[in-house]
Symmetry: C2
Subunit: 329 residues, 2 copies
């Protein structure tokens, strides 16, 4: 393996000079810098990231914690996140939070990363506390965990739910159902809360047996809608906790011969690109997903640069996108 010593020997300088020259330190003369650069090129030298990390105590790596990668929602966060982090000189390590075991959190705490993006926080989670105790900077993306105030890039989920409620009320719906995300996620909880508030402002109730909850995935929507259709009072409208659930519900509707939007209005949340496909043409709640991820990256990078700043929470304002899956009653 080629080290900075080899380069130093070839260039006839010391190892520290190589280190400084290649990083553009002003204290190295132009002539020396060129000589070193030539030697480095000749040897195809690439500085060891590990050596550098040990010395600087920075790894220039960020851990990103998600649960299920195959959920179509996350790639739309991870993609922009990756690019934004790269722009700031950071690379991305992926972690799945399947089981929040001690072992798993060890892997975050072994100083192999400079910070963490929590994209799938749950309300009871101990992970944020662990990170705080270790002084490992982190930021919430999309969901929060309650508890201590911390950096976060999130959507005004309550407002989003409220917008949907108003729209459905305006369209004349009364028998309304909700297929929401898990109760221990802020996205699940707040969207439902806003929806309930919006409905009650319009004088519409949301009985508990018209509410289903589950993971933010296709199956949740598929199964829950199947159940709702089999129930005593068929809803005429369903608000889904996110687009992936809505698309699950959409497919269940099709499987049961229920026409959308004539028989059933369906509204999602997130406006992932798939929602706009002709096959679905899903009415949903829009916000800038890429911008959300980028903001999280920026917040985290700033936190790393300045650990003692006040926590900052960026709240994105959602808006309703009216497409083809809603209709008047």
């Amino acid at each position: 393996m080629i080290t900075s010593r080899d380069v130093a020997r070839l260039a006839g300088v010391s190892q520290p000079t190589v280190s400084r020259a290649l990083r553009g330190d002003q204290r190295v003369s132009e002539a020396t810098r060129e000589r070193v650069q030539r030697a480095a090129d000749a040897l195809n030298y690439v500085p060891s990231e590990t050596g550098r990390s040990l010395s600087t105590r920075m790894t220039k790596r960020i851990g990103v914690v998600v649960t299920d990668l195959t959920n179509p929602f996350y790639p739309h966060l991870i993609g922009p996140l990756h690019d934004e982090l790269e722009q700031h000189g950071y690379r991305m390590m992926l972690f799945t939070e399947r089981s929040e075991t001690a072992v798993a959190s060890q892997r975050l705490l072994d100083r192999s990363i400079d910070g963490v993006v929590l994209a799938t926080a749950t309300v009871g989670s101990r992970l944020p506390d662990d990170l705080q105790r270790r002084e490992l900077p982190f930021v919430f993306l999309n969901r929060e965990a309650g508890g201590q105030p911390a950096d976060a890039a999130v959507v005004d989920n309550e407002l989003g739910g409220r917008l949907v409620a108003r729209q459905l009320a305006e369209l004349g719906h009364h028998d309304i159902a909700h297929i929401g995300g898990p109760a221990d996620t802020t996205t699940g909880r707040d969207r439902e809360m806003g929806f309930r508030l919006g409905l009650s402002e319009a004088g519409i109730g949301l009985p508990e047996d018209a509410v289903r909850r589950g993971p933010f995935d296709f199956d949740t929507g598929y199964r829950a809608l199947t159940e709702l259709l089999a129930g005593p009072t068929r809803p005429t409208a369903v608000f889904c906790g996110n687009d992936v659930i809505a698309i699950g519900a959409f497919n269940a509707a099709r499987a049961h011969g229920v026409r959308i939007p004539d028989d059933l209005a369906l509204i999602g949340f997130d406006d992932i690109p798939m929602a706009a496909w002709e096959a679905f043409d899903l009415t949903t709640v829009h916000y800038d997903l890429a911008e959300l991820a980028q903001e999280a990256a920026r917040l985290l990078v700033q936190r790393i640069d300045d650990p003692d700043d006040e926590p900052r929470r960026t709240l994105f304002t959602p808006e309703l996108v009216l497409r083809g899956t809603h209709a008047a009653r």
Copy 2:
């Protein structure tokens, strides 16, 4: 920061003993091991991954190179890949190969990873050569790059294309089109080649203006089908280079009022979960995507353990899944 020295001091032993004790080295007595373990627990000690890497010259990290994360295909590779790598004690770093600049490949060659999974190889790419020159183990996943023989987990794309051709021939189609992937990918090339061969065996031609090519994404399918529908001879069947293209084409068909499968047969490739959704019910070429990714992980881990083994190429056999997007002419 807590180091092994702190643990050593508290336990009343030397630093090397801490290192040995915590890793279960047999040469440490049971009594000492317990004492060290208690001290480590008391201090919440987590060994520094960086220090360890510098010493062992292994990082237990694998780089995964993809192009576009938001393409719905890749998550189905990355998810199982992540899990399989984790089982072998490796973590995953994500790289995007947007521009194959020198800088980008530096990031792979700085010894911050023990191996690379190339999921989006292109035929002309210099990257595999660079890796080989640096003796950095790598494996091709899904696509190959031609050139030197190397470890690879791939599907028999030619057979897959041939299966589709036979099926369409059997259904009586004559005016057939193909919307394929890029010509510089083995998946694009070989699927098209197999398709051509299969068609010609059945005495059916595939004129060049019935073939469109582009990235394996939604837009390629959408745009290409729109063009084909506007052409002089409308095809009655289209074979798409993968499911994502097929779903793009599906949506274009819907946008133009073309009924599937009555007006147009549509066949994809990969059988990603989305293909089975009722909304699409896509006839496609199936293989075990998760197993493919896992095999790539296994091949890479073995290569790392044994750098001088013969290169191994695992070829998965695809089969046609008949769903609802094909019909007899």
